[in-house]
Amino acid sequence: MTPLLAIQDYRLAFDGFDGTAHVLDGIDLQLRAGDTLGVVGESGCGKSVLARSLLRLNPSPPARVVSGQIRFEAEDVLAMPPARLRALRGRRIAMIFQDPASHLNPLLSIGTQMEDAIRGQDSATGRSRPRHAARAHAAALLSAVGLGDAPRLLASHPHQLSGGMRQRVLIAMALAGDPALLVADEPTTALDVTVQAQVLALIAELVRARGLTLMLISHDLGVIAAACARTVVMYAGNIVEDAPTAALLARPLHPYTKGLLAAVPELDRPDIRPRGIPGGIPSLRAPPPGCRFHPRCDRATALCAAEKPALREAIPGRTVACHHAEA
């Protein structure tokens, strides 16, 4: 069976005055229909850039595709003409973002923005529906994300809504085209803790009820554990580990994943102090040679500085990019 999404050796660079930043450095990733995948990593590791790449949303320039392929339903996203790209955006792959406040247009009513999304989907598929029908559809979408009183909500402007409501509106808009894949880029980070759980539950529920494939980007392993069956760990533009979430949490293989897990405070074990990873994320303009993690790794050897480790299957169903990760 062809995978829903297949990314092969995808390299993306950002050109700037100080040189070229190699933000994504050979990403290999496959997603089957129905997968729920979490992408975890520190800020700056390229996970948001990767998410935006699926819809070609990285502004170019400065972004430049160096090599690789992104295939969605066997079609090359990077080679799509504008019309195909529009039919992809929202209808086949939908996306929600970190900061719902800045991702809604402050001057347009919720109704206008939702109608624009719905009508955009319609025109991409050659359908047309009158404005009142689009409005009715918008109201239905709002109730699907648990927002009542649609007429009032559609007439209001973003600044009148709470953060959680805004994120729900954005989720409703993402559902407008009935997409196959939902990409959620840190959807709960900007929200209050109590609202975070609700929004996360909503996403999980929508994924289950609508049979969506999910790619959830987060720096928070807890968030990913709650919604995703599979997790990939990113470090400095590379995928370093790819495993079922439960297995990853129980037994991390990559030294970076281990460090990441050790840095999470455990509420029920206050006697264990969370440990950070020594050092900082490397410059992407002049990344360390070989394994990009080796300067911070306590198991690094000469091999690590010389040769970049490939993703290899260490245990059936789990891959890891480390010279020293034993099965």
């Binding site: 935006r52 819809l55 949303l57 502004p59 504008p82 529009r86 039919a87 955006r89 929202g90 209808r91 939908a94 996306m95 973002f97 900061d99 800045s102 991702h103 809604l104 247009n105 402050p106 001057l107 347009l108 009513s109 923005q113 624009d116 999304a117 009508r119 955009g120 989907q121 025109s123 991409a124 402007h157 600044h159 009148q160 954005l170 808009m173 993402a174 407008a176 085209g177």
Partner: protein, 339 residues
């Protein structure tokens, strides 16, 4: 209208009132620091000492300054701006006669500025750092750098003298009977009266001065709109609209442009006043019978009251334009409506 919007509007109007009073004070101060003796001016060039003293008493110039100020202000409140030495009419009458011509010229120039400046701004934002963008940038800076009087002369030489397409100067041929005034704006009146021939002729006369007058304004609008569009196109809400598959035209023309138009609006408010003040140059070049030409000919003759009248009118326009822009902001930006 909700209460907060009303309060916002009232505050703006009150502020404009205070500024207006300040403007009145300033014109009075300027008039009284003049080293020229206003009484001597009023009495005329051949007047003897006794006639000057007579004029001083007639015009109340022998009274203490506070009293003169009071008379000035109360006169203004009754619409009295003094008398023009050159035309012999009251300045108020002169302004009423000349202002519509200037207003017509400025309205058309603003229309040109907006209808060319905004699309060009959008275009060069979309083509950022490409050659179109570089060209519009030089064009925009040129618009501010071109001396209006010289640019006007160039256009006259090209389109009137060399090509003979358009008339050189004036508002209408002396042979043509202007339409009976309804609004005072010649083009509008001709339209309302159905006089197509007069409309066409009026348009041919107003075109060159309007283009010259529009240039700095067009350039400003273009630059602000470009900068704001570049910013808006980079905004998160544009990215999410793209991700949701919104029609790209609609993203540019509605989602981004609406946000870019707010600062553009502020520039339009500023530019309206500046445009009125550059009518002193453009109307001089094109012999356009408006308040600019009136102010210049009066200033050269040392006739002070008309200059003050024009200063007041233009200041008033400037404030009114900024007030209208503030009000429009309140209407267009939902965040302001609720504080």
């Amino acid at each position: 209208m909700d209460r907060r919007l009303t309060a916002y509007l009232l505050r703006r109007v009150a502020l404009a009132g205070v500024m207006l009073f300040g403007l009145v004070c300033m014109t009075f101060v300027i008039a009284n620091v003049a080293p020229n003796d206003p009484a001597a001016l009023a009495a005329g060039p051949d007047a003897g000492r006794s006639q000057i003293e007579q004029a001083r008493r007639d015009y109340g110039l022998d009274r203490p300054l506070p009293e003169q100020f009071w008379r000035y202000v109360s006169g203004l409140a009754r619409g009295e701006l003094g008398r023009s030495i050159a035309t012999g009419r009251s300045v108020g009458q002169d302004l009423a006669r000349y202002f519509p011509a200037t207003l017509e010229l400025c309205l058309l120039a603003m229309l040109i500025g907006l209808s060319v400046g905004v699309p060009l701004g959008v275009l060069s934002a979309l083509m950022k750092d490409r050659w179109v963008d570089h060209l519009t940038r030089i064009f925009a800076v040129s618009g501010i750098a071109l001396p209006p009087f010289w640019f006007g002369l160039l256009l006259q030489l090209t389109f009137a003298t060399a090509l003979g397409w358009l008339p050189t100067s004036g508002r209408l041929s002396v042979m043509t009977e202007p339409p009976d005034p309804i609004t005072g704006l010649l083009l509008t009146d001709a339209l309302l009266r159905g006089q197509w021939g007069v409309f066409g002729e009026g348009l041919s006369y107003i075109l060159l001065p309007a283009i010259v007058l529009s240039f700095p304004c067009l350039a400003s609008i273009l630059r602000v709109n470009r900068a704001e569009m570049v910013e808006a196109l980079r905004a998160d809400y544009v990215m999410s609209a793209q991700a949701h598959g919104v029609n790209p035209w609609r993203i540019v023309c509605v989602h981004a442009l609406r946000n870019a138009m707010l600062p553009t609006l502020a520039i339009i408010g500023l530019r309206w006043g500046w445009m009125m003040s550059s009518t002193v140059l453009v109307e001089t070049v094109f012999d356009w019978p408006g308040i600019g030409l009136y102010a210049v000919s009066s200033a050269i003759a040392g006739d002070f009251k008309p200059v003050m009248g024009v200063t007041l009118i233009i200041g008033l326009n400037f404030m009114a334009a900024n007030l209208i822009v503030d009000l429009l902001y309140g209407v267009l930006d939902p965040r302001l409506r609720e504080g």
